[in-house]
Symmetry: C2
Subunit: 333 residues, 2 copies
């Protein structure tokens, strides 16, 4: 191109990439020529020559119709990842998991489509664990967000859901509640285990025995919370349950709606605390007490960590980042 600016292609490349010593005058001449011709480097050629795509992959759960997971959750994390990506000059390649459960993450790296990858919404099931272990074995950089795999040593950015749950339950205890039910999500998510742990810890701390029959199993969907209301309405009426801690806002809201149909109001007949501080928690009435999770920050950190390591070519896996969460009291407790 700008050979028409009296210099070799190599020099052009050097100028544009700021590599090697360049006479100031030459640099300006090249940049001037590039501007005049409206020259834009071909990213495909660059990627090919550099053997790096400059893309960071973001793996998302398969969602034909986004509804099991909170869109809030993903939007926040995604924005955070985007923030870091921009800062490091990377682009985001969005990848939905296959519906059939196939997860050939290695292929994504082998084809060079991505240089690193952030995993969202992954579950601790054997196939996933194996797929990630292979990824790690092959040395490809990836980072999990909001999901740990015990004993694998995967790079992870998580939030302190144990403490978050403890605080939520402590709060209910402070309100004088003694029969606190817990609506949890599937155990494939490490955060479910964390929350159960926090729930138990808070009870233990208060000298209250844990009772399995107060633990209800949902799947993080609003519907599952709604359906559990049928089982819980009775115990709430009789006082066998005087408060509910739900593992996410969606279930809490579903439960709340279901109990309302049974004539039970949160904050009046029972206390209710959700988890996530999602949009929904602010718009229901009464407004839902919940636990705020720094999703944006988690995404930002996960990507930053990957790209930072990428740049210095180092492999030292940063210690799993665990970000603090905070209890938010509103009107349901």
């Amino acid at each position: 191109m700008a050979k028409l600016a009296g210099v070799s292609e190599a020099t052009v490349s050097r100028v544009l990439n700021n590599v090697g010593p360049i006479k100031e005058e030459t640099r300006e001449r090249v940049l001037q020529a590039a501007k005049e011709l409206g020259y834009v480097p071909n990213a495909l050629a660059q990627q090919f020559a550099r053997r790096r795509s400059g893309n960071i992959g973001v793996i998302l759960p398969f969602v034909p119709k986004v509804h099991l997971f909170s869109t809030y959750y993903f939007s926040e994390i995604l924005s955070g990842i985007g923030e870091s990506a921009k800062r490091f000059g990377y682009d985001l390649l969005l990848i939905f998991r296959e519906p059939d459960g196939a997860r050939d993450y290695v292929k994504l790296f082998r084809t060079q489509k991505i240089d690193a990858c952030v995993m969202l919404g992954s579950q601790d099931v054997p196939e996933e664990r194996a797929a990630l272990a292979e990824l790690k074995r092959e040395g490809y950089p990836f980072c999990l967000v909001n999901q740990r795999f015990e004993g694998e040593g995967f790079d992870t950015v998580d939030a302190d859901h144990v403490t978050g749950s403890m605080e939520a339950v402590r709060h209910l205890l402070e309100q004088g509640k003694r029969s606190i039910a817990f609506v949890n999500g599937p155990e494939q998510y490490s955060s479910s285990g964390d929350r159960l742990e926090g729930y138990r810890a808070a009870l233990a701390e208060a000298g209250i025995p844990f009772r399995q029959e107060l633990v209800y199993a949902g799947n993080y969907s609003r519907k599952s919370g709604y359906e559990l209301s049928a089982d819980m309405a009775g115990p709430i009426r009789t006082g066998t349950i005087d408060a509910v801690f739900a593992a996410n806002d969606r279930m809490a809201i579903g439960l709340m709606n279901g109990l309302r149909e049974a004539g039970l109001e949160p904050g009046l007949h029972y206390s209710l605390v959700g988890y996530d501080d999602s949009d929904g928690s602010r718009i229901v009435s009464p407004r839902l007490s919940t636990v705020a999770v720094p999703f944006y920050e988690m995404g930002r950190l996960a990507a930053a960590r990957l790209l930072d390591a990428e740049q210095r070519e180092q492999a030292e896996p940063a210690p799993p980042g665990t970000l603090p969460v905070s209890f938010v009291q509103r009107e349901t407790s």
Copy 2:
């Protein structure tokens, strides 16, 4: 690679791309060798050689903290785009607009990073209009979703917000309401204009004069709806307003919450209809009447159209697609 399978690289390429005549036996030999070696074509080299990235760009508004726009809205559209992309073998490259308003869309194409592009959340402002016009002038394929630019002939997938709004207002009229306020969003969005048009048409149809003082300006955020409640509480009490049609659910919900603080309940002191059929509309109480928009389908269609055209190398711009919406009655009206 699979030259070790007794054939030239060219033949390997032909086999893998299904191009040209190939002896069945050769094909199998190549595929067998590829499998044995675990061969995976280098996507970067492919893209470079084909001069196509195989990426479809998705332009999103700049969102340091996602909150002005409904995350629901984008998640749905994004999923729809993902669906089409997968079907055509494309990947999604996520691109956030620059905060400073710079929008060098052309560069994205010139660098070959994307082959086509879907625009989300774009506004009809001079810079955007110019940027898109340039894109069109240069012949780069792109498609707008939920936003039209009159007189430009851009490829667009929109929803019939005029009819949707008419139905919403008709519904209120059928309920006997005669003083229907309208809370609209910024006029940079064509859908705002559409909704105003629908609002006026429905009034005209019923022989009710349009009154400018019943039109309130929000910005599609929940906060703006909340703030407008201060202005509207009085008129509602006096009966100067007996119903409100809001241009989206977020504003409707904000308004509802604000009016509640003033002691006014939707469905009781006034009727309320929102727009979007977002998650929020289902979880507030009373549940919000609204208008369902096929966002997923819109994303799916936009991408499908682009990629379809891409494949047949044709340039005939499909007629702007306008998808139907549907009124959903719930409890606030």
